[in-house]
Amino acid sequence: MPLTPMHNDTQDTPLVEIKGLKTHFFTDDGLVKAVEGVDLDILPNRTLCLLGESGCGKSIMARSILRIVDAPGRITGGSILYHAADGRTVDLARARSGSKELRAIRGSDIAMIFQEPMSSLGPIQKIGKQITETIRLHRDVTKAEAREEAIDMLARVGIPRPAERFEAYPFELSGGMRQRAMIAMALSCQPRLLIADEPTTALDVTTQAQILDLIAELKDEFKMAVMLITHDLGVVAEVADDVAVMYMGKIVEKSDVYGLFENPQHPYTRALLDSVPRIGVTTRDRLPAIRGMVPHPLARPSGCTFRTRCDHFMPGLCDLREPQLKSQGDGQVACFLHEEEARADV
């Protein structure tokens, strides 16, 4: 059975290179800059976590890669270069929506799973039918072969009695089982990149632990890259190799997971890490909360977007100029605290 790794992606060349990506929403009330100039490389065989609070643009960023941003949103700038296994390079940001090129990549090379499994599983078709359909859409196999593969895949994601569940409707499964079925469907074409948008947020902790273990295992087995979108620092610590922290449509810090937790550089990252209660660590003292709240998307602060909540706000600098991602230690951070020259100018 072809449940063996197909990809020989090496670490050095990125799978996807995102450069200066802008995804804006043209709403009746004004322009919402959901993604505002993001540079990000997605490396093969690694798990990249996109961390941020609701509304920071992390989901829109992921949906931009697959070109499934809903109107009134659209990509207004930048590029998303996908380096295909056959050596071709496709700019996903410019590909015509609905084009053959795009459809061939979507679901086959790059697959996505969601927080709510019912948003990708149809309610009125049996699980098995939905998986075989995906397989046969992208690969030239017979119905019988596709069926066999689908059942193998259901077994692989840990669904008990897979042949029986092949005939089940999504509503007949529990939340955790549905999540597994969706993963089985996403992996049925052995994607090189799996994008997981808050895949465990709606699940109980014990189920969450199982699903996170499963994704990590399958990542190694199929040698794929995983981009996991989450707001949960515990999940990040558990699965990430690399982390990108987003705030108001921008990446404010990029680092490997150890660097991020042990030596966070951006004031926002630091504040985020401090504000979560941790088992066995916190006392009943007050939590060091980040003051205020995320500004309204239609009223983006000038300069650094975090300055309105930042304890290190430097007037005359942070409100006038936008900090760019600069190397700092092993990672990158967008903050003037780490730019001596810029501070000297003030």
Binding site: E53, G158, A237, V276
Partner: protein, 328 residues
């Protein structure tokens, strides 16, 4: 130890019971809360933690009498004396109690009427119970908004104009409006972002101190529960499988389910990765077993567990529902 404010005894809530008729036997339906007994002490924060479907929300609703419990007793002991039996209490009596026992909900979007202005949302109970209106009402609402850290000018806006965190503050202000003694908070911070969650937890602690509140804090997030609660009950399939003070429970969990739960929580420290031993396999939980509810998932289960219900035992400062508590 302070005195009790709430005493719950053998509280059972089952859904879909049938009385039986000419052709059918009486049948007990789905038992969501199964003979739960506990007491909440004045001034403390008592946490109920459990996964979805464990019955924690149903239990909270029974205490508020949003649901009528199938059997058991719920005694509320207000400060001025005169204990009230809530189970089976008539509506007039409940109306009095509902001023002293209030609720905060998870979804601030769904629990605030979008057609009412803030002054009416927060002040509704004041209008109904104290007949306040006009300037008197506005003054009280202004004070309440100030208590929860919102500006008083906000009272003329509609709930839609607020962010999730602010709406939760409105829900808290509404709960505070009648000077409650006991507040049931059902997943009150679960829907909030990390930074807003921290602010809201701090606010709840401040208010508890200022107004001498007692909290019944229902949640699924163990880290939040550890942070805010004095004592914790772990609920599994309708039963409290372990009750202990927070430190004891988190440092020395006795019940196998409590241990499994604590082990499953991802820790925000990448160096501790892989500390979860073994692999949790998905299980078909199926119908409730005759004996211990957890026996279908428990690694230590024996025939005794599968056949007989475990008695409550007191081990190492915790009340544990397990045949082998203290031995495993």
């Amino acid at each position: 130890m302070s005195e009790a404010i709430l005493e719950v005894k053998d509280l059972t809530m089952s859904f879909g019971d049938t009385k039986g008729g000419w052709f059918s036997k009486p049948m007990q339906g789905f038992v969501a809360v199964d003979a739960v007994s506990f007491e909440v002490r004045r001034g403390e924060t008592f946490g109920i933690v459990g996964e979805s479907g464990s019955g924690k929300t149903t239990l909270g609703r029974c205490i508020l009498r949003v649901l009528d419990p199938s059997s058991g007793s719920i005694r509320f002991l207000p400060k001025e004396g005169g204990a009230v039996e809530l189970a089976g209490a008539p509506i007039d009596q409940l109306r009095q109690v509902w001023r002293k026992v209030r609720m905060i909900f998870q979804d601030p979007q769904a629990s605030l009427n979008p057609r009412l202005r803030v002054i009416d949302v927060v002040g509704q109970a004041l209008q109904k119970t104290e007949g306040l209106k006009g300037k008197a009402l506005a003054d009280r609402v202004a004070g309440l908004l100030e208590n929860v850290g919102l500006r008083k000018e906000f009272m003329h806006r509609y709930p839609n104009a607020f962010s999730g965190g602010q709406r939760q503050r409105l829900g808290i202000a509404r709960a505070l409006s009648t000077h409650p003694e006991l507040v049931v908070a059902d997943e009150a911070v679960s829907a909030l972002d990390v930074s807003i969650q921290a602010q809201t937890l701090n606010l709840l602690q401040d208010l508890q101190e200022e107004f001498a509140l007692t909290f019944l804090f229902i949640a699924h997030d163990l880290a939040v529960v550890e942070h805010i609660c004095d004592r914790v009950a772990v609920m599994y399939r309708g039963q409290f499988v372990e009750v202990a003070d927070t430190k004891t429970l988190f440092e020395n969990p006795q019940h196998p389910y409590t241990r499994a739960l604590l082990q499953a929580v991802p820790v925000a420290d990448p160096r501790q990765r892989g500390r979860r031993r073994g692999k949790a396999e998905p299980v078909d939980v199926g119908a409730a077993p005759k004996g211990c509810r957890f026996s279908t998932r428990c690694p230590h289960a024996t025939d005794l567990c599968r056949q007989t219900r475990p008695p409550a035992r007191r081990i190492g400062g915790a009340d544990v529902l397990c045949h082998y508590a203290g031995e495993i």
